[in-house]
């Protein structure tokens, strides 16, 4: 038995332990927490910070978070939503509306926004599922519900129309910079906050996956009729998926509105926001816990680095990004997290199928 195999065997024994997910989670989030320090380590006169700023890291974790939220509905129950910008936008707008016009603390506003988004999700879900929309039709319906909100908000003077909201100073709602005000004077606390958000939604996803709710979700995804025939109340469970997913996506929107200075219908409800929010999950591997996080660390930095590197030619970054999207869905349709197992399968084929039992 070679050294590699003994390591592999030991890993497999570890993997079967009950505490394995906990250890992996701690390792992953430990790594995330250490990232702001890691990118500044000097390796042979080069530091990662030259490529990856803290701002890019924050964006990356935001999209990891939204993709993880999207995953609960679309990855687990298989109802492909193309309209999560609706929930994201509701999160941003409800938080800012309450904050600017009524001086409601953003943490409270955020929860209100989450409930509102879940309500909108329930309306979308109840209508679409009641009328049995599937596949492309469901995706288009969710897109329509998101685009609808974009135009409604653009035309509502109560929500400041196309101008949107400008984030107020903490003193405007009777607070100091800090956690309570949801505003900080530098980026580092913002980073740890969104990592905390990601931790929460990942925990929720893990709990769902490992409970009978998740079992029902996966049953619906694999074969809804078969699931219904053995007594899975598919309508109700699909709605639960939508509501939970919408709630967390809205919290992401709320965070967005507190991190960036302005929100406008054209930014938070944008057509391509729908794509950005879900892309990491599709790239990483839909329906997996790790997929959205890994996916975001691939997709978001590529787009940001391309933007800063080729800033002198407007648009070149999006050509690279587009080519990257095409390549990734063609060569890795099941997501990046399936690479290790695919590599193992390839390795086995190279060695001549000695261990077919694996």
């Amino acid at each position: 038995m070679s050294a590699i195999e003994s390591v592999r065997d030991r890993y497999r024994t570890f993997d079967e332990q009950r505490y394995a997910p906990l250890v992996k989670g701690v390792a992953l989030f430990g790594l995330l927490a250490a990232l702001p320090v890691i990118i500044e380590i000097d390796v042979a006169g080069m530091e990662l910070a030259a490529l990856l700023s803290l701002k890019v890291l924050i964006l990356t974790v935001i999209y990891a978070y939204t993709a993880q939220s999207w995953n609960i509905m679309s990855g687990y129950t298989g109802q492909f939503s193309f309209g999560h910008a609706a929930f994201f936008g509701i999160g941003a707008y409800a938080t800012q509306k309450l904050l600017v016009d009524f001086a409601v603390n953003p943490w409270v506003g955020m929860l209100v926004a989450g409930v509102l988004a879940a309500g909108y999700g329930l309306v979308i879900g109840a209508l679409s599922f009641r009328f049995k929309l599937q596949g492309h039709y469901f995706a288009l319906a969710t897109l329509a519900f998101a685009e609808l909100l974009r135009f409604v908000v653009t035309n509502m003077s109560e929500l400041r129309g196309a101008n949107g909201y400008f984030k107020p100073f903490p003193r405007d709602y009777g607070a100091e910079y800090g956690l309570v005000a949801f505003q900080f004077q530098n980026d580092l606390p913002y980073y740890y906050l969104i990592v905390g958000f990601l931790l929460v939604v990942t925990l929720v996803s893990w709990v769902i996956k490992n409970s009978w709710v998740g079992l029902y979700f996966f049953a619906i995804r694999e074969d809804e009729r078969a699931a219904a025939s053995v007594g899975v109340p598919s309508f109700r469970y699909k709605l639960i998926g939508v509501a939970v997913s919408a709630f967390f996506t809205a919290l992401g929107g709320a965070y967005w509105s507190m991190y960036f200075n302005t929100i406008r219908p054209d930014t938070v409800f944008a057509l391509f926001k729908n794509v950005e929010l879900l892309l990491p999950a599709v790239v990483g591997g839909p329906g997996t816990l790790l997929g959205p996080i890994v996916g975001s660390f691939i997709v978001t930095p590529v787009s940001e680095i391309a933007r800063t590197t080729f800033s002198d030619i407007n648009g070149l970054d999006r050509i690279i990004y587009g080519a990257f999207l095409v390549a990734i869905v063609i060569y890795s349709p099941r997501g990046v997290v399936s690479w290790p197992s695919q590599a193992r399968a390839l390795w086995k084929r190279v060695r001549g199928d000695e261990e077919v039992s694996e």
Partner: protein
């Protein structure tokens, strides 16, 4: 007196309460009962716009109907058509009308290339993958246009003027675009119904496996369909360029409305695309006149959602290939 004037003018009533939802419709109804001449003019504009909209949806409905692929690059295909016509007329000095067939040819080639490179390899994969692949194509082409031709709006130099028919003002650019749209629709319909290839395409749309059993080369049908769909986008884009300014990002609005029209009319249905186009065109023209801002688009999306829910097969669903 001042009060009277403001209540008559169909202007944005921003900030008003429920009135802003009711007033435009009251205004609309009074105009109908008074037989205002403006209604006829709006009707003409709606018809002109609707015909062109129908044409923009034609290629999309074909690709959707035959291959079950949502082609997000369709909007940018339109833009390529616009730039082709502009390039032909500006650089080579050929009439923009002759540029339209050239645009169709350019788009056919582009469509086949895009299909072979991006859609073909994942035609059996989950549909979200195709959606993301065509989205990638959208980014690539859109940005390529932006780099080559700058993001500034362009315009085909063409002063066609307008004619007056019974007090109704008709811009000739839009009129020719409508004629081209109608002609193209009839031609494509004849192609699908009368020719061997057209029948094969319809057969594949009906039942892919069945088509394979009777010996149709479905792979070939796929890339031809994608090419023809793109070529139709070229004709549509070229016709729009006759009367409108455009930039690399013009495609987005047309794309969304084309989706609405495809669903409204029924997947793969050509008469449906025409009626759907007219409905969307009318809502935009009348809504643009009576409703504040872009509220008309809200109505279009409500109609879209309503159709998806109540009659997802569309007005003409299942009737035609």
């Amino acid at each position: 007196m001042g009060h009277l004037v403001t209540s008559v003018a169909p202007l944005p009533l921003q900030g008003g309460g429920l009135g802003r939802f009711i007033d435009p419709f009251v205004q609309f109804l009074t105009d109908i009962t008074n037989l205002e001449p403006v209604l006829l003019q709006l009707l003409a504009f709606g018809l002109l716009l609707g015909g062109v909209y129908a044409l923009t949806a034609l290629g999309l409905t074909m690709i959707f109907g035959v291959m079950d692929v949502i082609n997000f690059a369709h909007g940018v295909f339109l833009v390529v058509g616009m730039y082709s016509v502009w390039l032909v007329s500006e650089m080579a000095g050929i009439s923009p009308f002759l540029g339209i067939p050239i645009a169709a040819a350019v788009l056919f080639v582009l469509g086949v290339v895009v299909h072979v490179l991006t859609v073909e390899p994942i035609i059996e994969a989950p549909q979200q993958n195709q959606l993301i692949a065509t989205l990638g194509v959208l980014f690539i082409i859109q940005s390529a246009i932006e780099i080559v031709f700058t993001p500034d709006p362009q315009q085909v130099e063409l002063s066609l003027g307008s004619i007056q028919v019974g007090g109704v003002f008709i811009p000739l650019g839009q009129f020719y675009a409508l004629v081209i749209a109608l002609g193209t629709m009839l031609a494509v319909r004849a192609f699908l119904n009368r020719t061997d290839l057209g029948r094969k395409i319809r057969g594949t749309a009906d039942n892919r496996d069945g088509a394979r059993y009777v010996g149709i080369n479905v792979r070939r049908i796929n890339y031809l369909t994608f090419g023809i769909g793109a070529a139709l986008a070229g004709v549509a884009g070229g016709s729009i360029a006759l009367f409108q300014r455009f930039d690399p990002f013009t495609g987005e609005t047309y794309l969304i409305n084309a989706f609405v029209i495809v669903i409204l009319g029924g997947l793969g249905s050509f008469p449906g695309a025409f009626v759907g186009g007219l409905i969307v065109g009318m809502i935009q023209v009348f809504g643009g006149y009576y409703l504040p801002g872009t509220t008309a688009q809200v109505l279009i999306f409500l109609l879209f959602i309503g159709t998806l829910l109540v009659k997802p097969e569309g007005l003409f669903g299942g009737a035609e290939a």
